[in-house]
């Protein structure tokens, strides 16, 4: 009984979140082999970055993880500012922290809704997006764009937070916890949801480390590792938060870790908004006409904890106005590569459930 059928899931498939293509070999309902095929959204952002100024490159980073764009901007700026020697002022650091955490919640909410759709739940998607809309309002108030904010810039942020934005963030902090609880209860109270996630898609600690998995997926496998704690950047060393960890390593653990991360992010934002210092929001060295004249030399690697995992940017400068080489460590790519291992010998329905918990965003994987 080893008659398998090769089934082609994607690139146009309802549950592959964009353009993932899974070549799977099924034996009846059981998946024997998975081979992810990627590259359908490949734009070669690394090459594009080599041909534009340091200040413009931000744009391509917005378009990587497009569901939580400010988080990606922060990652790039961590590296670029070190290379160019224009550190942001204190207020900009706190503003960026808030934006990064908001984008983490925004990204997790998209994942949450899409995960519901993967499992066949139609409604939580809309509740998640309803809450996400509040974050989008904050983004649009702060930056003028909803999705691809392009808010941070080298040496600070484009525009300062005003009272209205602070007010909206406070409103968000007030309503977010109860909405997150409601969303959470829609899922975890459901017996069918538990049966679809508990014990499914087990990933051991060793496998996770070996494949370079980071972020919530790694933490759900029992490694208490978060760049925000391990190598604090921005203002993360000055706020209190906890890293959710689970030793179970299954779909449910990954689900719960992400939910808990959202709660912790709300906590971080509420602390940051209180501690938001006054002062300049922009490093005068990087202002206006300096934009295209900034030169960087040497090489810098900066890593940040994006919503998907460890997001690293490696920039090599040769003293020119454009970077010599930009390399991006995409967390989703590493998280997807482990699907070959944990997607084996499960049912088709489970494969969808597992690839849902890896939280794929193809802008970032294919770059």
């Amino acid at each position: 009984m080893s008659e398998w059928v090769e089934l082609n899931m994607g690139p146009q498939h309802p549950s592959t979140h964009g353009v993932l293509r899974l070549k799977i070999k099924v034996e009846g309902e059981i998946v024997r082999e998975v081979e992810p095929v990627i590259g359908y959204l490949h734009r070669n952002a690394e090459k594009l970055c080599e041909n534009t100024f340091f200040c413009d490159n931000l744009l391509y980073f917005d378009r990587m993880d497009y569901v939580g764009a400010p988080g990606m901007e922060v990652g790039y700026l961590e590296a670029a500012e070190k290379l160019l020697g224009v550190p942001p002022p204190e207020r900009a650091i706190w503003i960026r922290t808030i934006m990064a955490e908001l984008s983490r919640i925004a990204s997790h909410l998209v994942w949450l809704g899409a995960y519901g759709l993967d499992l066949g739940m139609l409604t939580p998607f809309f509740y998640a997006f309803d809450l996400r809309e509040k974050i989008m309002t904050i983004f649009v108030e702060a930056s003028g764009s909803r999705l691809l904010t392009n808010y941070c810039s080298i040496g600070g942020v484009y525009q300062d937070f005003n009272e209205k934005i602070v007010q909206e963030i406070e409103d968000f902090i007030n309503i977010a916890p109860s909405k997150i609880e409601e969303l959470n209860s829609l899922f975890v109270k459901n017996d069918i949801f538990i049966s679809r996630t508990k014990g499914i898609g087990y990933m051991s600690k060793e496998v996770a480390i070996d494949y370079g998995v980071t972020g919530p997926m790694l933490r759900a496998s029992g490694v208490e590792y978060d760049v925000r704690k391990a190598e604090p950047y921005l203002a993360y060393s000055k706020v209190n938060f906890e890293i959710p960890v689970s030793s179970k390593g299954d779909n449910l653990a990954r689900f719960l870790v992400r939910i808990e991360e959202m709660r912790q992010s709300v906590k971080i934002i509420s602390q940051a908004i209180k501690k938001l210092p006054d002062g300049p929001f922009f490093n005068p060295k990087a202002k206006k006409s300096m934009m295209i004249r900034m030169r960087g030399e040497g090489e810098v690697y900066a890593r940040t904890e994006a919503s998907k995992g460890e997001f690293g940017v490696y920039i090599v400068g040769d003293g020119g106005v454009k970077p010599y080489r930009v390399r991006v460590r995409s967390p989703s790519l590493k998280n997807l590569s482990v699907l070959r291992e944990i997607g084996k010998n499960v049912m088709i329905a489970d494969l969808v459930a597992i690839s849902g918990t890896t939280d794929l965003v193809f802008g970032e994987i294919d770059r």
């Binding site: 089934l7 409604t123 459901n190």
Partner: protein, 346 residues
């Protein structure tokens, strides 16, 4: 007084043979139209309801409150090019959607719908073995699904059809057992316990109160029959694209779509007839149809809410659930029904 005699009264001048023929023809056509409109109304209601539950507005552009949206959709579906897969098995591929829809319409015409003032009892067929006939007709629909899945020559369709069949086998037996319990209960009160209208008329206390387990099993079976979430493994759109209807476009797909919503409506009618007291109600018995409709709408709302709130169960878990839980529950229910009937005489 019934719908048939009411119509016969109008055409009496034509003589017995011709009048009977015309009566049945006209009544059938009216029934067909009403059933189709009711199914379309269910779809409209679903879209509105889903939108409101999801904090949206729903169709509101075509006609007042979007009521004409379905007509627009129907035109769209008719106007679409029907793309036929090259490797199809032609006849079964074309027959399958029709089979699903026909099975549904026939099932509609078997049910009694209570009475309304001047028209009287509304039914087309009042067969003495109505219950058996009803479930025999309902068993046509899975054949259509299977044919659709196999004849499309698509891997997704094939897996979907296999899932649909596995699902059907695992809930049919409990469903029939729970219906059998109804027949057992009814047999104490009426001589004709296989006739649907006499079963319902004997149902002074709704059987759902006497047999909550039966109601549970039957409701789940009706969800599985209509194949929406949580039991839509056959056409699970996030796993198998669209299951057995993957290769269908245009009006052929529309028939599957209508079939699904029609089954929800039919299932609600059956549930309210068998378990919720049907067209029995307080005060006048002349408005039985209204009672039935109210009950059916409540069941439809419950079905839709379940649909929108639940994730999809995995096929092997459902088969397990069917054989290990639903079947024993329905057997217990049957035993209880017998006990209640024989010893307590309820």
């Amino acid at each position: 007084m019934s719908l048939l005699s009411f119509t016969y009264g109008i055409f009496k001048v034509l003589g017995y043979d011709l009048a009977t023929f015309v009566t049945f023809l006209i009544d059938s056509i009216v029934f067909l139209l009403v059933a189709s409109v009711a199914v379309a109304g269910t779809i409209y209601f679903f879209r509105k309801y889903m939108a409101r539950v999801q904090l949206r507005i729903g169709p509101n552009r075509v006609g007042k409150f979007g009521t004409l949206q379905l007509i627009a959709d129907a035109f769209k579906l008719f106007g679409k090019e029907s793309i036929l897969p090259r490797l199809r098995d032609d006849l079964p591929y074309k027959v399958a959607p029709v089979l699903v829809f026909i099975g549904l319409l026939v099932a509609f015409s078997i049910l009694p719908y209570g009475s309304l003032y001047y028209i009287g009892d509304i039914f087309i067929s009042n067969s003495g073995v109505g219950i058996i006939l009803l479930f025999a007709v309902l068993a046509i629909m899975p054949i259509g699904e299977l044919l659709a899945g196999i004849s499309s020559h698509n891997k997704y369709s094939l897996i979907g059809a296999l899932r649909a069949v596995a699902k059907d086998i695992s809930f049919e037996v409990p469903m029939m057992l729970s219906v059998l319990a109804i027949v057992v209960m009814a047999s104490a009160r009426t001589t004709n316990s296989l006739n649907i209208s006499s079963v319902v008329t004997s149902e002074l206390l709704p059987y759902g109160i006497l047999e909550p387990l039966g109601l549970f099993v039957f409701f789940i079976s009706m969800i599985a029959r209509a194949s929406y979430t949580p039991f839509d493994m056959g056409e699970s759109e996030s796993e198998l694209v669209s299951g057995y209807s993957t290769e269908y476009t245009g009006m052929r797909f529309g028939l599957f779509y209508l079939g699904m919503f029609g089954t929800i409506l039919l299932g609600s009618f059956i549930v309210s007839l068998f378990y919720l007291g049907g067209y029995n109600g307080p005060y006048s018995s002349d408005i039985g149809l209204i009672y039935l409709l109210i009950k059916a709408v409540i069941v439809v709302v419950i079905s839709f809410t379940v649909w929108l709130a639940m994730p999809r169960i995995r096929i092997d878990k459902f088969v397990n659930f069917g054989w290990k839980y639903l079947l024993p529950i329905s057997v217990i229910n049957l035993v209880l029904a017998g006990f209640l009937t024989i010893y307590l005489g309820w």
